[in-house]
C-alpha cells in the first residue's frame, strides 16, 4: 500500500500530472481500506467457516473449533456418494440444458419480432408480457401446479408412461422456456441494430428469418451469454417448483437434492452438510468467474436501464 497515489478522492486525480508526487498516505485512505477489508472479511467469513467445517470430523464441528486438527478430505467423497451428487448434478445439467435451449429457441424470435417486425397489436402484446413481471410467483404457483398435474395426465394417456410431466423433465423445463425478462433484455439489444444493416440485407433478398439467423443472432452474442448465465443460475438454484412436482430421484435437481440431504440423510452430520454445500457452490462459482462481465452487465441492464 506504500505506493498508493495522491490524496484526492480518486476520480479527480486522473491525468493530473502535477499531483504525481509521493505524499504520505492520507488517513481517509487508510480508513477506506480498513472498512473495506473488515467488510470483505465479514462477507467471506461464512465461506471460510464452510470450507473449514467441511474438512473437520463431525465432533470437531460440534465442539466449535475454528480450524480442523487434520483436514478430512474424504468428507467430500463421503458427501458426494451419500448425497448421490453424480446423479443430482447430471439431473441439473440435463434440466438446465433443456430449459436454456428452449428459452433461446423461443425467446430470440419473439424478442426480434417485438423489436423489428411491425404487426398488429405488437405494443399491446408486449405490454401484456411486461406486466407478467409484476405478478408474484406465489400467485401462479398453485394454478400452475394444478395445470401441470392435469397436463401430465393428458400427456401420459397419449404418449404412455414416458410422456408424464410430473417427475419428469417437461414439468421442470417447459414452464420456464419463455420469460418476459429474457424477451425484454434481448429486445432492447435487437432494437439497437442499425436500420441500415436490415436495409442492406433486404436488398440482398434476406427475409426476417435469414436476417435473424445470420446477422442479428451473431451480433447478440453478449446478451445471449447473459441470458444463458441467468438461466443457468436460476435453474441450478430452483427449489420451490421442483419441491412440488418432483418426488423421486430420477429428475431431482441439485438444490432440492442438497436440501433433502441436509434435512434428512445428513441431519446430524454437519461436516457432510458443509462438504455437500461446497460441492454445490463450485459449478456456480466457475460460471460466475467465466461470465463475470456479462453477469454484472445483465444485472445492471435488468435494473437501471429497465
Amino acid at each position: 500500500m506504500a505506493d498508493v497515489l495522491p490524496s484526492a478522492p480518486s476520480a479527480f486525480a486522473r491525468g493530473d500530472a502535477s499531483q504525481k508526487v509521493r505524499q504520505p498516505i492520507p488517513v481517509s485512505k487508510i480508513a477506506t481500506y480498513a472498512t473495506l477489508i473488515i467488510g470483505g472479511l465479514l462477507a467471506l467469513l461464512p465461506f471460510v467457516w464452510m470450507l473449514s467445517w467441511s474438512l473437520m470430523t463431525n465432533s470437531e464441528v460440534i465442539a466449535g473449533r475454528f480450524l480442523p486438527a487434520e483436514p478430512q478430505w474424504q468428507n467430500y467423497l463421503t458427501a458426494w456418494n451419500t448425497a448421490q451428487f453424480s446423479r443430482l448434478m447430471w439431473n441439473s445439467v440435463r434440466i438446465t440444458a433443456i430449459t436454456v435451449t428452449g428459452l433461446l429457441l423461443f425467446c430470440i424470435p419473439a424478442a426480434y419480432a417485438f423489436a423489428r417486425i411491425r404487426f398488429w397489436g405488437r405494443n399491446v402484446i408486449f405490454a401484456l408480457f411486461l406486466a407478467t413481471l409484476m405478478i408474484p410467483d406465489i400467485v401462479t404457483l398453485i394454478p400452475n401446479l394444478l395445470s401441470v398435474v392435469w397436463i401430465s395426465r393428458l400427456s401420459e394417456s397419449i404418449f404412455g408412461e414416458s410422456g408424464a410431466w410430473l417427475n419428469n423433465w417437461p414439468s421442470l423445463t417447459i414452464p420456464f422456456m419463455a420469460s418476459a425478462f429474457t424477451i425484454f433484455l434481448l429486445r432492447q439489444f435487437f432494437a439497437q441494430i442499425p436500420e441500415d444493416l436490415w436495409d442492406a440485407a433486404r436488398i440482398d433478398g434476406a427475409t426476417h428469418f435469414t436476417f435473424l439467423r445470420f446477422v442479428a443472432v451473431p451480433l447478440a452474442r453478449a446478451p445471449i451469454m447473459t441470458t444463458l448465465t441467468f438461466a443457468f443460475i436460476g435453474s441450478w438454484n430452483s427449489l420451490v417448483w421442483p419441491l412440488l412436482v418432483v418426488s423421486n430421484d430420477d429428475w431431482r435437481p441439485i438444490a432440492f437434492g442438497l436440501t433433502k440431504f441436509v434435512q434428512t440423510d445428513a441431519g446430524d452430520e454437519f461436516h457432510l452438510q458443509m462438504a455437500a454445500s461446497v460441492i454445490m457452490i463450485i459449478p456456480i462459482l466457475i460460471v460466475y468467474f467465466i461470465t463475470q462481465k456479462q453477469f454484472t452487465e445483465g444485472i445492471w441492464t435488468g435494473s437501471v436501464k429497465g
Binding site: P9, R14, G40, R118, F119, S147, N237
Partner: protein, 557 residues
C-alpha cells in the same frame, strides 16, 4: 398509356398489401411459441388462481365459495377492499369512456362505436364464462376415470364429452351467438365508418367496456355476498354493520387522500402565506378526521381475520422494514468506498458480490450452523466471551426486546423474533453486495465535473456525498427500494431453508403461510390462492405508494 399506369399502381398497392400481410404473419409466427408458454404459465394462471380462490378447493374443485375465503383471511375488511376495488375499476372505466366520447365528439356517428364494442365486450364475457364452466369439468377427467385404465381413447373421449355437459354446452351456445353478433357488428362498423381512428376508437371502447364489465361483476358479487352475510348474522341475532364499515373506511381513506393531495398542492403552488396557512389547517383537520374513522373502524373490520394471516403480515412487514434500509444503506456505503481509486478494487467487488451469486441452499446451511442453538456455535462462543448468555437463535421465537429487557416487556413492543433477526442478517449479507453493484453502476453515471466544481467551491467529502452523490443517485436508490421491498415481501427460499422448530411462528411470513397451505398433507388450494391474491394486492399498493411518495423526490438530473 393511362390504363397502364393504373394497373401499375394497382399492382404496387397489391404487392404492398401482400408485404404487410407477410410481415404480420412473420411477426405472429415469431412470437407464437413464447406467447403460448407465457399465456399458459404466466397470464392464464392469474385468472385461474382467482377462480380457485373463489372455490372450496382441496385436491379437486369443490363448491363455489364466493368471497368467503377472503373473508376468512381478512375478516370483513375483505368486503370493504373488494367493494372499493370494484368502485375504482368502475371509475377508471368511466374515465376511459369519457376520453372516448371527447375523441369521437367531432365525428357525427362516432359514438356508434359503443354498439360493436358492447357486443365485443359481451363476447369476451361469454368466453370467460364458458371457459370457467368448462375448466372444472375438464380438470375432473382424471377423477372420473379413476378405477379405469387411463388410455388415450378414454381420456380423449372424456375430453370431448366435457364439451357436451349441459352447463358447458349452454355457455358454449351463448358464446357462439355473441361472437357471431360481435363479429358482424365489428365488420359493419369498420366498413361503414371509414375514419382514420375508427380502429383505435373501437379498441378504447372495448377496453372500457371490459373494465366496466369486471367492475359490475365484482360489485354484484360483493354486494350479494355482503347481504347474505348480513342476513345470516341478523337471523343469528348478532347483526354486523358491514355496509357502514365499507362507507366509514372508504370515507376515512378518502379524507386522508384528500389531505395529502391538499398538502402537495400547497407545497408546490406559490400562493399567499395566509392561504397556505388555511389550507394546511384544513388538511390537518381532514387528516385527523380520516384517521379517527380508520382507527375506529379498522380493528372491527379485521376482528374476524385469520390470526395466522395477521401475524404473517406483521412478520413480513418487520422483515422488510429492517432488511431494506440495512441492505441499501450498506450497499451505498460499499459502493461509495469502492468507487474511489483503490488497489484491488475488482477483488473487493467480487468478494462483496459473492454472497449474492452463491445459491441460498448452500449458504443457508452455513448460516444455520453459525447461528445454531449449540453452546459451541460461533455466535454463542462470541456471546460467552463477551460475558452474555447463549441464545437459541434460529430456534428462538421470542421478540428481541423481550430477550433484552426481560419477560415483562409488553407483547406489542416485543419486536421481531430472534429467529427473524438471524434471517434478516442473512438477507442483508446476501443483498448488500447486490445493492452495491447497482449503486456502482449509478455512480458511474455521475459527471466528474460536478465534483470538481464543488471542490473548487470548497466542498469537503461529506458535502460532496450529501449534495451531489446522494441526490444524483436517487433514481438508483428508488429502484433499489422498490425492488428490495417487493423482494422481501415475496421472499421464500431464504426463510423456508432457515426455518427451525422453535422459531416457527416468528419467521412465518405470508408467503410461508401460503406455501404451508399447499404443501401439507391435505392441501387447501382455494385458501392458498386467496392469500396469494391478498399478498399480491398488498405488494401492488406498496408499489403505488412508493411510486407516488418517492417518485416526486427522485431527481433525474
Amino acid at each position: 398509356m393511362a390504363t397502364n399506369t393504373v394497373s401499375t399502381r394497382k399492382s404496387l398497392q397489391e404487392s404492398r398489401r401482400r408485404r404487410i400481410l407477410f410481415e404480420n404473419l412473420t411477426g405472429f409466427l415469431f412470437i407464437t411459441p413464447a406467447s403460448l408458454i407465457l399465456l399458459v404459465f404466466q397470464i392464464f394462471p392469474v385468472g385461474f388462481a382467482f377462480f380457485v380462490s373463489l372455490h372450496r378447493w382441496r385436491r379437486t374443485p369443490d363448491e363455489w365459495q364466493g368471497l368467503d375465503q377472503y373473508a376468512t383471511a381478512l375478516g370483513n375488511f375483505a368486503y370493504v377492499a373488494f367493494f372499493w376495488l370494484a368502485v375504482g375499476v368502475l371509475c377508471f372505466g368511466l374515465f376511459r369512456l369519457r376520453t372516448l366520447i371527447r375523441h369521437t365528439a367531432a365525428h357525427r356517428v362516432g359514438m356508434m362505436v359503443i354498439i360493436p364494442a358492447a357486443a365485443l365486450t359481451a363476447a369476451v364475457g361469454a368466453l370467460i364464462a364458458w371457459f370457467f364452466t368448462l375448466l372444472p369439468v375438464i380438470l375432473d377427467i382424471p377423477a372420473r376415470l379413476r378405477g379405469q385404465a387411463i388410455d388415450q381413447e378414454a381420456f380423449v373421449r372424456e375430453f370431448y364429452a366435457s364439451f357436451g355437459y349441459p352447463e358447458v354446452a349452454a355457455a358454449g351456445g351463448l358464446l357462439l351467438t355473441l361472437v357471431i353478433i360481435a363479429l358482424l357488428l365489428t365488420v359493419l362498423w369498420l366498413r361503414l365508418i371509414r375514419h382514420r381512428d375508427s380502429v383505435q376508437w373501437l379498441y378504447m371502447a372495448w377496453t372500457s367496456g371490459l373494465l366496466l364489465l369486471a367492475a359490475g361483476w365484482t360489485l354484484a358479487l360483493t354486494s350479494s355476498e355482503v347481504n347474505t352475510v348480513i342476513d345470516a348474522a341478523a337471523q343469528a341475532g348478532s347483526p354486523v354493520p358491514i355496509w357502514a364499515q365499507v362507507l366509514i373506511i372508504g370515507a376515512g381513506t378518502g379524507l386522508i387522500g384528500a389531505a395529502l393531495w391538499l398538502w402537495q398542492r400547497t407545497a408546490y403552488n406559490q400562493t399567499s402565506a395566509n392561504r397556505t396557512y388555511m389550507v394546511s389547517i384544513l388538511a390537518v383537520i381532514l387528516l385527523v378526521v380520516g384517521g379517527i374513522f380508520l382507527i375506529r373502524e379498522l380493528p372491527q373490520a379485521f376482528a374476524e381475520a385469520d390470526p395466522n394471516v395477521l401475524r404473517g403480515f406483521n412478520v413480513t412487514v418487520m422483515y422488510s422494514a429492517v432488511s431494506v434500509p440495512l441492505q441499501i444503506g450498506l450497499g451505498l456505503g460499499l459502493a461509495v468506498l469502492l468507487f474511489q481509486k483503490l488497489k484491488g478494487k475488482a477483488l473487493f467487488r467480487v468478494v462483496f458480490f459473492l454472497p449474492y451469486v452463491t445459491p441460498f441452499v448452500a449458504t443457508s446451511v452455513v448460516f444455520s450452523l453459525i447461528f445454531s442453538h449449540n453452546v459451541t456455535s460461533p455466535v454463542n462462543q462470541l456471546l460467552v466471551t463477551l460475558g452474555a448468555d447463549t441464545q437459541n437463535w434460529l430456534r428462538e421465537s421470542s421478540g428481541i426486546f423481550t430477550l433484552i429487557f426481560g419477560d415483562g416487556t409488553p407483547a406489542i413492543l416485543s419486536g421481531p423474533g430472534l429467529a427473524l433477526i438471524v434471517i434478516i442478517i442473512y438477507n442483508v449479507w446476501i443483498f448488500a453486495g447486490y445493492c452495491a453493484v447497482i449503486f456502482l453502476a449509478g455512480l458511474g453515471g455521475i459527471e466528474n465535473d460536478l465534483y470538481e466544481a464543488a471542490r473548487i467551491d470548497g466542498a469537503n467529502a461529506w458535502h460532496q456525498l450529501r449534495f451531489i452523490t446522494i441526490p444524483l443517485l436517487s433514481p438508483t436508490t428508488f429502484f433499489l427500494i422498490l425492488v428490495s421491498t417487493i423482494g422481501t415481501f415475496q421472499a421464500f427460499t431464504q426463510i423456508y431453508l432457515m426455518r427451525r422448530p422453535g422459531g416457527f411462528p416468528a419467521v412465518d411470513t405470508v408467503n410461508l403461510n401460503i406455501f404451508n397451505q399447499i404443501q401439507r398433507d391435505s392441501p387447501n388450494f382455494g385458501y392458498g390462492s386467496a392469500l396469494a391474491f391478498v399478498l399480491f394486492g398488498v405488494i401492488l399498493i406498496l408499489t403505488l405508494i412508493q411510486n407516488r411518495v418517492a417518485g416526486r423526490r427522485v431527481f433525474y438530473g
